[in-house]
């Protein structure tokens, strides 16, 4: 399975959401990281044929996906960021309906719905109305619907948003389990999610993929070091203004800062191992200081 984006562009009025993007994906898990407004959702919507590109094209094994139509959608599974559902349907009804519009034969659909309800831990909630489910259960129903047709291409837009830590871990494991022999593109701004499960991480900014590679490659690409510094509380603002601070931990006698810099910010600063969050901050600068960037 090869999904290729050639000069892919999407403009809304004067705003370019995806800007002449060139990238090729094959089987494996791809984590798409970027701040809000980077163009992740627009890219995913184009990959799901929900939006037509303004320029360029997307091909699947050499064929243009919009031209493939139902042939492409047949091998596609999508969990959107704002996953909507039919509130009066039970989980079983909802999945059966999606199975029907995905073209599964009734007997196959029944079996597949049963399997996925079990796999996503929704057995007890199968007869519950969708509107009665918790946030985590809804997301699980969401991943179940995306998997109904056993898709070769699975696109998950912010699948862990709004989940508690337990649900997130469970969800990550589920995605890892489902990722075998298919192409999974996972978008998030929760860095630790992709760190655990993605083979390839794509950093997206202003509609472009600015960096792609394995977690280690991305970390190694940083030209600055990560330092742990212990400072007094009244010094924090000074360091925040001067350096990129990827973490801040208050203690009873001061504050421990995690600083990205070319050289040690203070003499007793300790060099520590960089992680993906540091990479995120390094490449996305001040914006990474937003509340969403730190897990």
């Amino acid at each position: 399975m090869e999904l290729k984006m050639k000069n892919l562009t999407k403009e809304f009025g004067g705003f370019t959401a995806v800007d002449h993007l060139n990238f090729t994906m094959e089987n494996g898990v791809y984590g798409l990281l970027g701040v809000n407004g980077a163009g992740k959702t627009t890219l995913m919507k184009m990959l799901c044929t929900l939006l037509s590109p303004t320029g360029g094209e997307i091909t699947c094994n050499g064929r243009e996906i919009l031209g493939m139509g139902a042939d492409y959608r047949k091998i596609l599974g999508y969990l959107p960021q704002d996953f909507g559902f039919y509130p009066e349907f039970t989980v079983q009804d909802y999945l059966s309906y999606i199975a029907a519009i995905k073209g599964l034969r009734p007997a196959v659909a029944r079996k597949r719905v049963r399997e996925l309800i079990e796999k996503t831990g929704l057995t007890k909630a199968a007869k519950k109305k969708m509107k009665k489910l918790s946030g985590g259960m809804k997301r699980r129903a969401g991943i179940a619907q995306a998997m109904l047709n056993n898709p070769k291409i699975l696109i998950l837009d912010e699948p862990t948003a709004g989940l508690d830590p337990n649900e997130r871990i469970r969800f990550r494991n589920l995605i890892s389990e489902l990722a075998e022999d298919r192409l999974v593109l996972l978008s998030t701004h929760i860095v630790s999610d992709v760190e655990y499960i993605a083979n390839q991480i794509l950093l997206m900014r202003d509609g472009k993929i600015v960096l792609a590679g394995e977690a280690r490659e991305l970390i190694d690409s940083m030209e600055e070091g990560v330092f742990s510094v212990f400072v007094r509380k009244n010094e924090v603002q000074h360091f925040m203004k001067k350096y990129k601070v990827s973490n801040l931990k208050s203690m009873h006698d001061g504050v421990e800062l995690r600083i990205i810099a070319k050289s040690p910010p203070v003499l007793d600063a300790g060099l520590v191992d960089a992680n993906l969050e540091d990479v995120f901050l390094y490449y996305f600068g001040e914006k990474a200081g937003g509340k969403d960037a730190v897990v």
């Binding site: 919507k45 929900l50 139902a70 969990l79 909507g84 039919y86 009066e88 009804d93 519009i101």
Partner: protein, 398 residues
């Protein structure tokens, strides 16, 4: 897929409430229509509904048969006897209940057009009354030759009226008259279209409203068969609810008042005396029902098209309401009447307006308004389907 589309509609509590409201309107409307049939007892007291229908049937069926010259003479004589034997006009009315319809024909036939004289029958002789059908023809010829009609319209009307066959056959038909000659049926049709509009308005907008659009359109059948299933669901709901409401209403009214009289010409109700359509009550029922169905299909598919484009339930709900009610009021504005008579709401009111003989000359051809509107709106409804299908399947989700 179709099953789930229907389930989406019926699973909504508001839709269930709307459906129950329609059921209540059908039952209440049929009881009110039946209650309008009244019978006066000898003591002057009044009864209505089923009991009245039973007594009227007995009295009216005593006059059952072709209303020939002899029957018309007999009606005039009986009418005079009833008046002579009664102290008051009300007393005479009680005695006339069996032949009051035929008395009304005579009143209509001999009154000046637009100036119905209730006492006309009291003042003419039996010999004069015997010429009722000739008098009708004479009046119609006079009316047709008025300057308001073009040559082609005159020819069209003459041809229509020539098909009228005298003498008329008469029997009890209060059930059909209550069903088709009252205001209940047009009102019910207006309520039905608004309620069906409410039921189906979400079919093409709910995915957008609920945020389920991405999953829907990225599915294998999301841009073909699933859209088709939505259209099929709409068609089924419109058809089932419309015909269900109309048939139940008709069966209830006729069940209470009697099915007898289906083969009677509509001219046997004096209000239709000058009607150019030579139809039996059963034929008028079919025309009314199919006309109403054509209006429902057109107006509701138009509402669905707007719903699919605007992705809004509210806009879609207002269209059936606006199209079924607004032209009726706008039609009262001088200068707009002729244009408003071409709006689809006219098809919801066939039972009430059929007697008005509305005709149009278009491209040198003359049409009765319903002969023209029913096929036109059916065709337009059919043409809306591919537009709806193509427009919805190409939806882009920004």
């Amino acid at each position: 897929m179709l099953w789930f589309e229907l389930k989406k509609i019926w699973s909504k509590p508001m839709n269930k409430a709307a459906f129950l409201l329609l059921a209540a309107v059908v039952f209440a409307g049929s009881l009110l229509a039946a209650r309008d049939v009244v019978y006066y007892r000898e003591d002057g007291s009044k009864i209505s509904g089923f009991a009245a229908a039973r007594r009227l049937k007995r009295e009216k069926n005593a006059w059952k048969g072709y209303v020939t010259e002899d029957v018309l003479k007999k009606v005039v004589e009986e009418n005079k006897r009833a008046r002579a034997e009664s102290d008051t006009e009300d007393g005479a009315l009680i005695k006339r209940q069996g032949f009051s319809d035929i008395r009304d024909w005579i009143n209509s036939g001999f009154s000046e057009p637009g100036d119905y004289d209730y006492y006309m029958c009291d003042s003419i002789s039996a010999e004069e009354a015997a010429a009722l059908y000739e008098k009708r023809l004479e009046m119609i010829k006079k009316e047709i030759s008025s300057p308001g009609y073009s040559k082609k319209e005159q020819k069209f009307l003459t041809r229509k009226y020539a098909k009228f066959k005298a003498p008329l056959y008469y029997e009890y038909a209060e059930g059909w008259k209550a069903l088709l000659d009252s205001q209940y049926l047009p009102t019910l049709m207006t309520i039905t279209i608004v309620i069906i509009g409410f039921l189906v308005s979400g079919i093409f907008s709910s995915e957008f409203q609920l945020g389920a659009d991405s999953v829907f359109f990225s599915a294998n059948y999301g841009r073909n068969r699933a859209v088709q299933a939505k259209i099929e669901a709409c068609f089924l709901v419109i058809t089932a609810v419309y015909w269900g409401a109309m048939v139940i209403f008709s069966v209830l009214v006729l069940g209470i008042l009697g099915f007898q009289g289906a083969g009677l010409m509509i001219q046997t109700d004096y209000a239709n005396w000058d009607c150019m359509y030579n139809l039996t009550y059963a034929q008028k029922w079919l025309l009314t029902m199919f006309g109403g169905y054509a209006a429902h299909l057109f107006i509701l598919f138009l509402a669905l098209l707007v719903s699919a484009k605007s992705r809004s339930v509210v806009v879609a709900v207002t269209i059936p309401f606006a199209l079924s009610c607004a032209p009726m009021f706008l039609g009262r504005v001088p200068g707009l009447t002729k244009a408003m008579n071409l709006f689809p709401d006219m098809l919801l009111r066939i039972s009430a307006f059929l007697r008005d003989n509305i005709i149009y000359e278009i491209g040198g051809k003359v049409f009765g308004v319903y002969e023209m509107l029913i096929p036109v709106y059916l065709l337009l409804a059919l043409l809306l389907l591919p537009v709806l299908y193509a427009g919805y399947r190409r939806s882009e989700l920004a």
